[in-house]
């Protein structure tokens, strides 16, 4: 058994996949350095150094076989942070190399493919919910600021959505769990990685003067648009899971 350790990046993962083929490893697993704890003392460790020429060769091959949508699916598996993500990716690449004529990601009867499809569904759902449940709060410096805490690392997947939508206001979306964010300054929309966690103490004091008013208006709207006679809390929670409530203005 050989364990390939990579740096935790998507390129690193694809480099590792490349090297599995390069060195003709059969009994192999890929693991991220950060999350790796050696359990199998007989395993041999192979350190992978991320090389974009190798990862790009894997990408090119994959694009021929499963197309851009297929690569997008594998990216979603990567962003899911699923403990099994490396081995699912390797399984998909292996199958794809073996059956280059087919789009193996459509073979839902295969257990790895089905798992990939399920992970993609979960990540997509979270991605969609982030386009819905992000709540911007206007700050004194006119930046519209939003805090998120998604189960999957979906910030890279929502960048385009928000970039297209809000072109005439400065905005920032910050992932509290992963400690990085996305900032649009009216020209560029880039990721940023602060050295320390952003300080959210006395955060509300930094609100723009009009912010509280619009929050109250939204809360009143939310209350008044409800039809009491049709109350259905079970359905409500199904649509708006409680873990999102703390960031929703209307669930103050």
């Amino acid at each position: 058994m050989t364990t390939l350790l990579y740096d935790g990046s998507f390129d690193g993962l694809l480099t590792a996949v490349f090297e599995v083929f390069e060195y003709r490893y059969k009994d192999v697993e890929i693991a991220s350095k950060e999350r790796f704890h050696q359990e199998n003392i007989f395993a041999e460790i192979h350190e992978v150094i991320t090389q974009t020429d190798k990862s790009e060769r894997v990408l090119n091959k994959l694009e021929q076989n499963i197309g851009k949508p297929g690569i997008y699916k594998l990216l979603k598996v990567f962003l899911s942070e699923d403990p099994d993500l490396e081995n699912l990716t390797l399984s998909a690449v292996r199958q794809s190399v073996k059956h280059p004529e087919d789009n193996i990601l459509e073979n839902f009867a295969d257990s790895d493919v089905l798992k990939i499809s399920k992970i993609c569904k979960s990540v997509d759902r979270e991605r969609h919910r982030m386009t819905a449940f992000v709540r911007f709060e206007k700050m004194k410096d006119d930046v519209f600021f939003a805090k998120i805490d998604p189960d999957f690392n979906v910030l890279p997947l929502i960048r385009k959505h928000f970039k297209d939508r809000y072109q005439d206001q400065k905005w920032m979306i910050y992932d509290l769990r992963r400690n990085y964010g996305l900032f649009y300054d009216l020209d560029d929309c880039e990721f940023f990685y602060p050295d320390e966690k952003i300080d959210l103490h006395h955060y509300q004091q930094k609100f723009h003067d009009e912010e509280k008013n619009y929050q109250v208006l939204w809360q009143r709207y939310f209350t008044k648009t409800n039809i009491v006679e049709r109350k259905n809390i079970k359905l409500h929670i199904q649509h708006v899971p409680k873990r999102y409530w703390k960031y929703l203005t209307e669930k103050w």
Binding site: N107, D110, T131, Y166, D168, E229, N232, I233
Partner: protein
Amino acid sequence: MNFDRLKEKLEILADAAKYDVSCSSSGGTRKNKKGALGDSSPSGICHTYTEDGRCVSLLKILLTNHCIYDCAYCVSRSSNDIKRAAFTVEEVVDLTINFYRRNYIEGLFLSSGIFKNADTTMERLVRVAKKLRLEENFNGYIHLKSIPGASDDLMQEAALYADRLSVNIEIPTESGLKLLAPEKNRQDMISPMRYIQKGIIQYKDEKKILKKVPKFAPAGQSTQMIVGATNENDLQIIKVADHFYKNFNLKRVYYSGYVPVLEDQRLPSLTTEVPMLRENRLYQSDWLMRFYGFKAEEILDPNMPFLDLEVDPKLSWALRNLDQFPINLQTAEYQLILRIPGIGVKTAQKIVSARRFQILTIDHLKKLGAAVNRAKYFIDFNAGNAYLRYLTDKNFRRLLIGGSSSKFHNQFSQQLTLF
């Protein structure tokens, strides 16, 4: 802007608009222009859900709840003693923009009570949309309610700025409408709808020849009808919906289970429960017509003009057409697979895709997301299927119902005790 007064108006005019069930923000294709605000995605986004479980994707308000009409089913009717209010055009625009900037909504759904007359009201609605588009550079979604009797010129303008237009036909039958809204007539509701429909067709034709044609109600039209306020049956309702889909190319027909809010001898009493399960069955039937290739005539038997409350309409159809089953999963056409109870559109697509790779079994079916407890009785696998012997059992219906439980079972139990 006087915040307290604005808040009060919003409370009154959101409350009065909440019975309109349309909430869709889909079908929009408006792309953001450089440096402007808003972008509509074709699938639409629900930004939150009310405690009754309905989606909130648009700021849904009335411009005013002053109304010259006295329709029995409507809270804003002239004889109802309630607080009245009216927004200014600027207030609606300000609320829409500021809610949109905070990502609360996809856009605006603006309806109105009829003050003075149809054209004055319609003109005011159009002015809001126009200001949003031209002065605020807003590319979010706008749904305007067409006011029955509004002139063609105003409808033309409305369609240039709004994504969707709708006229509520209110009551499924004309006799019901006469009873509950004697001042309104079906023709006034239909004529703006007809005008927009022609416009959409014309737009599509011009688009083929010319590159730049101004958008014309790109997300189409919808309508809604109240269910259970008069004594129409489900067959009539489905026929009306089918008529609108076929002859008016409507995008959606909504069904709104009547919520008893007013005491009136022509209406069900205030203690009547909201017919939630019936409404749900109507939506299921609507889905069958729009996504599953069912014809309106197939959904209900003229001898039994009400939808079965015990089983969903697709299962109900299957039980009336047992001779069409079993359907072979490996070889049957997609359209037939869609007809198997317990198999939805996505599962059907996955089946057609996966079977190219291997022979499918019941285990695969479960993993692909089918409701196997129902589906298993209707399917033939290449390797055979032991459950098929129940298909001819005279107690088949009971067996099926025993194997599934409705999500409405406890919550709206009153309707089920009718059986």
